[in-house]
């Protein structure tokens, strides 16, 4: 079993390294086969490990990574229920996306680099999931950051793409700073970075420390999961190839923050203040991103903002103390969002590489299959009753509602409002893409089969995902909560409250649909006002950060360089050197090459010395 767990992690690494080192020397389809084989093998290994994951979990220590003084960090893996469910999702979704990518990247000359990075990404993500200490998790954490960087900028010839990758890396690294500080602090407090040890002994700490550490972890999570205020990188990250958006920026990496908070939940949950902050960050991001999604014109940017918004829901779930709700939504979201992105990739292909939804329309005629798949995804996203998205979102809102106090009711209200907006933008997208006639000019491109059928299992998983954690109200047994041993996440609300919650959820869904139906059934490009411009630009946060952070930073750098380095330090030194040279220049005149002049100096000098001795003798 230990070997299976190690393989689960190492297979993608192996595939990635193999492709990175030798990929270009292998005959054409082989790199793709290696990459797919590695991930699928990893998925099978994960399935194999699954029976061992319950209870205490399965653990392997591969070797000691760093050990110095009191500090020790192992390459140690832990497959407990939380990690198992996450690893299964990551490898499963990644396998499907790899298959899809094999079709998507068919004609790209640089596909070995793509698959190498994609495999390395899966490895890094699995490291986050399986790490039994925070330092190893940090390795994965930065690893996914790098792979994301490399893949966003995959088509590097366009400077914007590479710049978007860089932005993603640096913005998430701001979050990582907080994570690092939290990590250092935790080690200083406990003398270990083992996740279980820290969680087990968290109650020993005083509340203020816990709050600060939890907030630091939240900072790290915000960076990776694109939550306020570190969210600006995600929409730009859509410059990457579509499978990348599906895998990294929808299903897995952006949920790493949620996973971190769930992992450290025993610690985080000890601080009510931090929990409130998490919930607030989550719900505000959800609302912010949903409003932005309303005005976007590029299909992938709509989905990007919706991802941000849905991850906000997951944060909200953690913040109201329901790990199983967060994980539930994480899973269903991974399924339907990966589906949506990949279907969007198909749509873009079908529309002749056109991103702009204003130039789509009538896509239903171009491919019925994709239409149904995309709509299935949208229904999940919008929270159509009985789909996976509906149940998971409902559980989150119910958990917030069940807390009962004013703060949480407020959060519930905002969450409900966001749900309505979600439904609105989902159907706006549906109508703009599928209704009416095609507004673009390009002829359709062929869709390879590999780009279609991996979507089908995802669609099933998305639509039926509710079964994972079907509440008692619908006759289920809340399997996921049981698996995660979090039975108190199962809510026991009164019948009236249940009806109220479900009713309002269905209500906002229908309301959103209705508005979208009235507004977008007939295409009319009307989003040109200042408000849509404001929303389109993501509330102008980019401009704000540029003004507040980047410009001053450049100014400081410029001052250090031109002012201090060149002006002061080098200026002083060069000035000193110049003074010496000037002195030398003037002394040079003495050496005029005339012997007589020298001898004269000699004679005068002699005179002075003799005079000096004579004077001394006289005195």
């Amino acid at each position: 079993m230990a070997i299976l767990l190690t393989l689960l992690l190492l297979l993608p690494l192996l595939g990635g390294v193999l492709n990175a080192c030798l990929g270009n020397r292998l005959p054409k389809p082989l790199p793709v086969i290696i990459a797919n084989g590695a991930v699928i093998g990893s998925f099978l290994a994960c399935l194999g490990c699954l029976p061992q994951a319950g209870g205490e979990g399965l653990r392997v220590t591969v070797f000691t990574w760093l050990s110095s003084g009191d500090f020790q960090a192992d390459i140690g893996l832990l497959l407990d229920p939380l990690a198992a469910i996450m690893a299964l999702m990551v490898t499963g979704v990644a396998s499907l996306i790899h298959l899809y990518a094999a079709g998507y990247m068919q004609e790209d000359a640089d596909q070995t680099r793509f698959f190498a990075l994609l495999n390395l990404f899966v490895f890094a993500m699995l490291t986050i999931v399986l790490a039994d200490n925070l330092l190893l998790m940090f390795l994965g954490w930065e690893g996914v950051g790098f792979c994301s960087y490399g893949l966003i900028g995959f088509w590097y010839r366009k400077t914007e793409n590479a710049a978007a990758g860089r932005k993603a890396f640096i913005v998430t690294r701001i979050g990582d700073l907080f994570f690092t500080i939290g990590l250092l602090w935790l080690f200083a407090l406990f003398g270990t970075l083992g996740i279980e040890a820290i969680n087990g002994r968290a109650t020993e700490l005083d509340p203020t420390t816990i709050t600060i550490i939890a907030l630091l972890l939240l900072g790290g999570a915000c960076g990776k999961s694109a939550q306020l205020p570190l969210m600006t990188w995600l929409p730009d990250a859509m410059a990457g190839p579509t499978p990348v958006s599906a895998l990294i920026h929808a299903a897995t990496m952006v949920t790493a923050g949620v996973y971190l908070l769930c992992r450290m939940f025993p610690l985080v949950s000890l601080s009510p203040l931090a929990m409130g902050a998490i919930a607030l960050v989550g719900v505000l991001t959800a609302l912010y991103a949903a409003t932005c999604a309303l005005a976007q014109r590029e299909i992938k940017r709509v989905l990007a903002y919706s991802t941000m918004s849905q991850v906000g829901y997951m944060f909200l779930a953690v913040g109201v103390g329901s790990v199983s709700a967060a994980m539930f939504h994480l899973l269903t979201h991974a399924f339907f969002k990966a589906l949506l992105f990949m279907a969007a990739g198909c749509l873009i292909n079908l529309a002749g590489h056109e991103n702009d939804i204003y130039l789509m329309g009538g896509m239903r005629q171009r491919s019925k299959t994709i239409f149904w798949l995309f709509v299935a995804g949208l229904f999940c996203l919008a929270g159509a009753p009985l789909t996976g998205g509906f149940f998971s979102k409902d559980l989150i809102l119910a958990a917030a509602f069940a807390q009962g106090d004013l703060f949480h009711l407020g959060i519930y209200g905002l969450g409900l409002l966001t749900a309505g907006i979600t439904s609105l933008y989902s159907f706006r997208l549906a109508y703009l893409v599928f209704a009416g006639d095609f507004r673009g000019e390009e002829l359709p491109h062929e869709l390879p089969g590999l780009m279609q059928w991996p979507l089908v299992p995802l669609a099933f998983l998305g639509v039926l995902g509710g079964l994972l954690n079907l509440p008692h109200f619908f006759g289920g047994h809340s399997w996921l909560s049981g698996w995660l041993s979090r039975d108190h996440d199962v809510l026991h609300l009164s019948m009236n409250a249940e009806y109220l919650l479900i009713g309002s959820a269905v209500g906002v869904f229908i309301l959103g649909w209705l508005i979208a139906h009235l507004r977008y059934r007939k295409f009319a490009p009307r989003e040109t006002g200042p408000i849509s411009g404001f929303l389109l630009a993501g509330w102008q946060f980019d401009a704000l950060f540029d003004r507040v952070l980047i410009q001053p930073f450049r100014a400081v750098c410029g001052f250090c360089w031109q002012g201090l380095e060149v002006g002061l330090v080098d200026g002083l030194i060069d000035g000193f050197a110049r003074t010496c040279v000037a002195w030398g220049q003037s002394l040079r005149l003495l050496a005029n090459g005339r012997i007589a002049f020298y001898l004269q100096g000699f004679a005068w000098g002699l005179l002075v010395i003799v005079g000096w001795f004579l004077l001394r003798a006289a005195v």
């Binding site: 002394l587 040079r588 050496a591 005029n592 090459g593 005339r594 012997i595 007589a596 001898l599 004679a603």
Partner: protein, 101 residues
């Protein structure tokens, strides 16, 4: 000693200053060499005088050495004067100031 030492010293000082002035003022290389010789001989005079005054032989020995050395020096310097004359067609020292900074 018939001649008082003071007179001897005054004479050699005058000789030395004459030689020095000659070296400093003249521009002709040969004249400068003559100045050097005069200075050397002034020194030799002092040595002889002092030797006689203190009744010690060292000074006279020194003068013998001095004369031998001077003859060697003069032959070398004159050879160099000839060489320099060939190079620049002049023995004016102003034309030999390449060592200036």
């Amino acid at each position: 000693m018939i001649v008082p030492l003071e007179h001897l010293l005054i004479l050699s000082t005058i000789l030395f200053l004459l030689g020095l002035t000659c070296v400093l003022v003249r521009r002709n290389l040969i004249m400068i060499l003559i100045g050097v010789e005069i200075m050397l001989n002034a020194v030799g005079l002092v040595l002889v005088g002092a030797s006689a005054f203190w009744q010690q032989i060292d000074g006279q020995v020194m003068v013998l050495f001095l004369m031998a050395m001077t003859s060697a020096e003069v032959s070398i310097s004159l050879a160099m004067v000839v060489y320099l004359q060939r190079r620049k067609n002049s023995i004016d020292i102003r034309s030999f100031d390449e060592m200036r900074g």
